[in-house]
Amino acid sequence: MNNVKLKNLIVNSLGKDNDDGKITSELLAEIDYDFDKGFEENVLAKIFNTGKVIRYEFDRRLKFAFRSVSIATAAAVILLMISIFLQEGNLSIDSLLGVGDGYSESMVSLLTGD
């Protein structure tokens, strides 16, 4: 294939002329992309000898667990805030700490048991 034809194929491969993939086939007849000999054996050796798959699986499950816990936590916090707001009528620090209606004396007796 001469240089001019190759350049035309490169440019035309991006347009509508390549909707049927014929230009790609023509290009691939000239340029061959492949991995080295023994590629399959190397992949299998890495999978079964290095534990990479176990690491991927562990990461995936960890991410899934983290996502699930995050969603549940966010939902619980929202419900708690709504509940506090309905009970106390506001979301002040005292309300969030649960000491909104408390007096210091009753707090001391509550903590000491006297």
């Binding site: 440019v11 390549n18 992309y33 190397n42 992949v43 299998l44």
Partner: protein, 183 residues
Amino acid sequence: MINEAYTESTDETLVKASLKGDRKAFEAIVSRHRKMVARTVKGMLGDSAFAEDIGQDVFIKLYGSLSDFRGDAKLSTYIQKIAVNMTLNELKRRKRFTYKTESELHEYDIAGDDAESRYDAKATVDRVLKMLEPKFRTVVVMRMLQGYSVKETAAILELPAGTVLSRLSRAQEQLRKYLKNNE
């Protein structure tokens, strides 16, 4: 050597067999799709030992996520998505885009294209791909080296078809200009 029974099996059959622990079945999947992955990985990263490692990692990740493959899409599309994501992630992680400016490439051409006998189709394709920014390079590799339609490219890259079309059109313009300047 891969058994003939495996080479004639469908992808779905090979996936099921692989999930049951049949290593030869997975080897057949690798053998069937290695060239497709090579076009994506080497098209994006260039032909290097580094690309060879990423190619292996694509299939290792595939093996680790085979149980997630539900068969809604073709296995090749599923593998292609893994290949594109891993290649882009690796490029981001290493921050070593082989992106070159047009002027740098022009200098390379003047130095390296002085004899017809030295002309190499693959080197030309690699050179024009490296000229493109990664976001353009990805759509160009899908279209030029994989022969995917705009719709298929959009599905693999999870982009709107309009974005793919616009990137292809801009990349085509850049390539046309670059190749014209280097005639």
